[in-house]
């Protein structure tokens, strides 16, 4: 009986394959209307001048307009720094609760907290950091009272590069924890034992086996963190009121009004972001596939 049902299924698949695509048509329609049409429209518009004629000028201008170049540079800098910092701290945390021998409950505490923190972004996160490291923030006052150190006097500014990076870290390293914890679980106990058995020290085990095995996951996750920071808008906007010149803020300003005096340049800027994000995602997927193949 089950066999019949099964063969009936197989028959259908081979006989009228194209009909089966009807079942996913609503999904594709949704994707076209609300993902692809908007993206393609921006893409097409970025090749149009003010009169609607085809031009490469907008794309070329991305690379010549200092205002735009600086925005990209700052975005890339913040994303790279927080991706790296988040990756390192996140990896060490994931390490400590997986193979680092911490008691079991610590793991579920950390994972839950990471789930919260990686989703706790935008306005509330910005306000939380104002309460912490703003001019009258908890830690700012603490440093002043206890160590007599005014962190703002010594160059720190929550509303600049360093501050924004610290804020981004709040959702960056938990994301790393969430990605790395399963990857570290994938390290088999037997690999460590086999390497010890063959005479390797703990250090040699990490250098020759554990890190190489984890490397694609680590790199992939770092790239994902980069994209995560690169596309962020709300946190930066809420923290600085739009006064920090990262790409997303500039794109936002362009949506509000034609601040570049050339709409096409705005679309090109948006496309530049999509391009960078697409490369990050492709890199991530490629590295992920490599790891899965190894750990199959």
């Amino acid at each position: 009986m089950t066999q019949n049902v099964l063969s009936a299924f197989k028959g259908k698949v081979s006989a009228s394959n194209y009909k089966n695509w009807i079942g996913v048509a609503p999904f594709f329609l949704f994707a076209i209307l609300f993902i692809f049409l908007p993206s393609i429209r921006l893409f097409v518009d970025s090749f149009k001048d003010n009169n609607g004629h085809f031009t490469f000028a907008n794309i070329l201008q991305l690379f010549s307009e200092p205002y735009i170049l600086n925005a990209y540079a700052l975005s890339i800098k913040i994303s790279a720094v927080t991706a790296l910092g988040g990756a390192i701290l996140g990896f060490l945390l994931a390490y400590s609760v997986t193979v680092g021998n911490l008691p079991k409950p610590m793991r579920s505490i950390l994972i839950t907290f990471s789930g919260v923190a990686s989703n706790f972004a935008g306005v509330p996160l910005a306000f939380a950091f104002v309460s912490t490291l703003g001019r009258t923030g908890f830690i700012t006052i603490l440093f002043k009272d206890v160590f007599g150190l005014d962190i703002y006097q010594s160059g720190f500014n929550l509303y600049g590069f360093a501050g924004l990076s610290l804020v981004y870290m709040y959702f960056q390293f938990p994301l790393m924890v969430l990605i790395m914890a399963p990857a570290l679980d994938g390290l088999k106990k037997e690999w460590r034992e086999a390497s010890e058995n063959l005479g390797a020290s703990a250090m040699q085990y990490w250098i020759y086996i554990a890190l190489p095995v984890l490397l694609p996951s680590i790199l992939g996750a770092t790239i994902l963190l980069f994209g995560n920071a690169f596309g962020a808008y709300a946190t930066a906007y809420a923290l600085t009121g739009g006064r920090i010149g990262i790409v997303t803020i500039q794109v936002g300003a362009q949506i509000r009004g034609d601040v570049l005096h050339n709409p096409g340049l705005g679309y090109a800027m948006a496309m530049g972001m999509v391009f960078i994000m697409a490369i990050s995602l492709a890199g991530y997927s490629w590295l992920q596939a490599k790891t899965e193949r190894w750990l199959k």
């Binding site: 695509w21 908007p38 993206s39 609760v97 789930g115 989703n119 309460s131 969430l178 906007y237």
Partner: protein, 277 residues
């Protein structure tokens, strides 16, 4: 027992990293809570909370965001469940392309998405090279804007919703379950309502809660499409007040925590990766 073996049993560095991470997590939250309790000079109290919750604008915007979140979750479930089920059952070759689409929000972040949505839907949507109108300009009327907001949130939540549902279907083995139900003579209605959906409960719940967590405080789509949502309200409040925003931020955190805690409980400890803020 030799020294290195003994050292391995005391996870000194593990504790250091863990405490460092814990401080990073907790300090901003503690600072926010501490600040939010000091609205009245010299008194620790819930005045800021009381004052925020009593603001009719808060109730209106929060209610709006919650309603939009529920509609988004329902619409998203309605879109992803049949799609994922159909692909598992009849169209495995579509898996890759659909998974690729669900990852699009990582490539097209919210700020770009809303840019494109406004470009497309601020004018009537016509069939290319003709004047036949498929859709009126959605941004020009309230209901149309709400449709855009929900659709945008569905896109942002797609990675979580689709992955939760699809992973749920894989773990319960919907293909086999369906065949077993069919062999016992069940019709499609019975199969879906009594076999498939009950088994997807925890997967659906975690997808729904993640979507809720994303929608409730979302700012980008809401502010650029000009809807009266909680995120823009909180942002504006932050421009004029000091203590109330802290109180509401802490409340938002607690809600996110509750959502993640429930997910943790129902999925038995598998974390959910996130991204794209």
């Amino acid at each position: 027992m030799n020294l290195s073996a003994r050292l391995r049993n005391i996870p000194f560095w593990s504790w250091i990293w863990f405490i460092l991470g814990a401080l990073y997590f907790v300090l901003p939250l503690y600072a926010t809570l501490d600040f939010s309790l000091r609205m009245e000079r010299g008194v620790v109290g819930f005045k800021a909370y009381q004052s925020s919750f009593e603001d009719p604008e808060f109730l209106r915007t929060f209610g709006y965001s919650a309603l939009i979140a529920v509609v988004t979750i329902l619409a998203s479930a309605l879109l992803t469940i049949p799609t994922a089920y159909w692909i598992r059952l009849k169209l495995p070759q579509a898996r890759r392309i659909v998974e690729f689409i669900t990852l699009m929000p990582f490539v097209v972040p919210a700020i770009i998405l809303v840019f494109g949505l406004i470009r497309i839907y601020s004018a009537p949507l016509t069939i290319p090279f003709t004047d036949i109108v498929l859709m009126p300009a959605l941004t020009t009327f309230k209901f149309g804007t709400n449709i855009l907001v929900v659709a945008g949130y569905m896109v942002l939540g797609l990675p979580y919703m689709y992955r939760s549902v699809d992973t749920g279907m894989r773990t319960v083995g919907v293909h086999t379950l369906t065949e077993a139900a069919q062999s016992l003579g069940a019709n499609w209605y019975v199969i879906i309502t009594q076999v498939i959906l009950p088994n997807l409960r925890s997967a659906l719940l975690s997808g729904a809660l993640l979507t809720f967590a994303i929608v409730i405080g979302e700012v980008v789509l809401a502010s650029f499409l000009g809807v009266p949502a909680f995120g823009p309200y909180l942002f504006l409040l932050g421009q004029h007040r000091a203590f109330e925003p802290a109180a509401l931020s802490f409340t938002t955190f607690l809600m996110t925590w509750a959502a993640m805690g429930i997910i943790q409980l129902v999925t038995g400890g598998q974390g959910q990766a996130s991204g794209a803020h």
